[in-house]
């Protein structure tokens, strides 16, 4: 006995396969307009796709970081309690001799964004959608560019004079990229 599931799957296949067929089998979905989508379409891709216009520099970023981020991530991005944003990865490291004690207290400090993330665009994407943790989506695009610049500078990946925008950000190379492998074939 074919199950309902199988019948539906076959119907869907038949429908998908029939060139020019426009009537979906179930078809309860409604068309999504550009305007309805635009306000939610916030994902930024490694090649820079979907980065918004705007710009920000390290100096501006430093001010915003101290004001909006340091309380949770630490003055230098390594003290916690929330995730380590700068420096090397691991239980021990020359750049932070207190690391093992910090991790014992705040387990999320076991890895570092600067050392683990492969693309700089992801910093912009995440900070804009989720940070500060208690006030997500409260920063302007310019502010997010500025903070992204400061975090990259903290990690020694750009000059203090650098400006981040749609063109510059995707060009910043993160050290983790060359060490990355995908488990998905």
């Amino acid at each position: 006995m074919p199950t309902l599931e199988k019948v539906l799957a076959l119907l869907l296949l038949a429908w998908a396969g029939a060139a020019g067929a426009t009537e979906p089998v179930i078809g309860l979905g409604e068309a999504l307009t550009e305007a309805d989508l635009a306000r939610y379409d916030i994902t930024v891709f490694p090649d820079g796709r979907n980065l918004p216009p705007g710009r920000g520099n390290v100096t501006e970023g430093r001010v915003i970081y101290r004001d909006r981020c340091a309380a949770c991530h630490g003055e230098s991005g390594i003290e916690g309690p929330a995730t380590r944003l700068a420096g090397s990865d691991g239980l021990f490291g020359w750049d932070d001799p207190l690391r093992i004690i910090r991790i014992k207290k705040y387990p999320l400090l076991i890895w570092s964004m600067g050392a683990r993330w492969p693309y700089a665009t992801s910093i912009f994407d995440y900070v804009r959608r989720a940070m500060p943790h208690t006030a997500p989506k409260s920063l302007s695009n310019d502010q997010v560019y500025a903070i992204t610049a400061y975090l990259l500078y903290m990690n020694g990946l750009i000059e203090e004079s650098a400006v981040m925008d749609q063109q510059a950000l995707p060009k910043v190379k993160m050290p983790a990229l060359d060490r990355s492998v995908s488990a998905w074939p």
């Binding site: 309860l28 409604e30 999504l32 076991i110 683990r116 943790h133 990355s180 492998v181």
Partner: protein, 456 residues
């Protein structure tokens, strides 16, 4: 039948589960049921001092004068609840007030994670394979959104012919499927993955980021086909409607085959902490990408490298390379009774060892148990049903000798994947890598009956 009548099948006092079967057959009346796959359980639990592993109900103070004259009523010598009319029931039931200590435990409380919450399932207090919805583990990265289901929509766009939106009301009209499946956080048992020295944590703290439910929802393929997948689409970016818009990239091929838009859990609509009104459900895959409060699916050629696939949910291999997109949770098991945090009530005597096994690759084929630190092993009984990518309950009778020993369980799945030892697992990863830990777990039974976490 005394426990001394049971035959030993392995060191440390492991008993032959088939002895229970033989006993049942002798009684004839239960012969029909005894022929089923896991007959030892009912008889084992009948004789097991199971109640003594949990706090005993205090003796009621109904010890009034025994009825001596014709004026006395039978009520005089009975427990009070047997001699009065009971109370009212309630519209939505909850567990007995005597079971109030069975709770999820909150790990990494604020300010340690500055607000990210992890609630662990009390595995050792539960039986069977279904986790009650309110006890299902939950990791919420950005708190629980206070979401209005009448305004919530699922958006599908990107490499599709017709970008679409679906209201919850419309989604509830689609044909649905139900699947009993486990869900496990990639970081479950992370303490034992990274701590160089054994830390004294309970089973709940160590293993509580795994649960199993009956999930019901719409196969995602129905909705994606409706939008029409364009050539070149290979990934799907799933985003939640929580404050931080949690986002993960999943390979489209696997999503088309296996993903469900889950709307119900254990028969009722999803709980808020499981993503009400809907979540993505990918059987066997790490918890994080089963995006809760799902509201947007973007079809793309490449992954987005979102925050979670960039850092927290990656593994560092022994050679320093960073492994990404390792989705499947591996074959794993844990003895839940007895387990760390419990005290065996009697110095010697009968216990039923009982636990859970699961694999993100398929069904569990067998679970072996050792009561002598891995020197000898015996196969445990698997309780039906044994389902694809679901909890499988195993059990084996045990007569504790009273000596200090290590209890171990080792699961094998239908593809022959076996749990590694902790040493073998550690060899694959850098010292600080903690995700996807599935090594054989050991519980130390101390002479005083105290059960503790141990490395075998």
């Amino acid at each position: 039948m005394k426990t001394s009548d049971l035959s030993l099948v392995a060191g440390g006092g492991l008993l032959d589960r088939r002895d229970f079967l033989k006993r049942a057959l002798r009684y004839g009346a239960v012969a029909a049921t005894a022929a089923s796959a896991a007959p030892s359980r009912s008889h084992a639990s009948e004789r097991a001092p199971s109640a003594s592993l949990t706090p005993a109900l205090p003796q009621q103070g109904g010890q009034r004068e025994a009825a001596t004259s014709g004026a006395a009523t039978i009520a005089d010598s009975m427990a009070p609840w047997m001699t009065s009319l009971g109370g009212a029931d309630v519209a939505y039931g909850s567990p007995s007030a005597h079971e109030r200590e069975v709770q999820r435990s909150r790990k990494f409380d604020a300010p340690q994670t500055a607000g990210m919450t992890m609630w662990h399932t009390p595995l050792a207090a539960l039986q069977g394979i279904i986790t009650p919805s309110g006890l299902h583990y939950a990791v919420s990265h950005n708190g629980l959104p206070d979401l209005d289901p009448t305004r919530h929509e699922l958006l599908i766009h990107g490499l599709v012919r017709t970008p679409m939106r679906f209201s919850v009301e419309r989604l509830l009209r689609y044909p649905m499927v139900s699947r009993i499946r486990f869900l496990e956080c990639a970081g479950n048992t992370a303490y034992n993955a990274v701590s160089p020295f054994v830390e004294d944590h309970s089973c709940q703290e160590l293993f509580g980021q795994v649960s199993c439910s009956d999930w019901t929802g719409v196969p995602l393929s129905y909705l994606l086909e409706e939008a029409g997948i364009k050539d070149g689409a290979a990934w799907i970016i799933a985003e939640g409607a929580d404050g931080g818009s949690l986002t993960r990239s999943l390979p489209l091929e696997a999503v088309m085959k296996d993903a469900m838009l889950a709307l119900y859990q254990n028969g009722e609509r999803l709980r808020p902490s499981q993503g009400y009104p809907m979540r993505l459900f990918m059987p066997g895959w790490e918890g994080n990408l089963n995006v809760k409060w799902l509201h947007r699916l973007e079809l793309t050629a490449n992954p987005a490298y979102t925050k979670d696939e960039s850092g927290l949910y990656t593994q560092v291999l022994a050679d320093g390379r960073i492994q990404r997109f390792a989705f499947t949770m591996e074959v794993k098991s844990v003895i839940t009774r007895p387990s760390a945090g419990m005290v065996l009530p009697e110095p010697k005597g009968f216990y039923e060892i009982s636990g859970l096994a699961w694999s993100g690759h398929g069904r569990i084929a067998k679970v072996e148990v050792s009561a002598d630190g891995g020197e000898s092993w015996a196969e445990a009984a698997l309780q039906e049903p044994v389902l694809d990518r679901a909890f499988t309950r195993f059990s084996i009778p045990w007569r504790w000798t009273g000596a200090s020993t290590l209890l171990l369980s080792r699961a094998t799945d239908q593809h022959g994947r076996v749990q590694p030892t902790r040493k073998q697992w550690r060899k694959r990863y850098a010292a600080h890598s903690f995700n996807h830990y599935n090594a054989i777990q050991a519980w130390r039974i101390n002479r005083n009956g105290r059960v503790e976490n141990a490395y075998a």
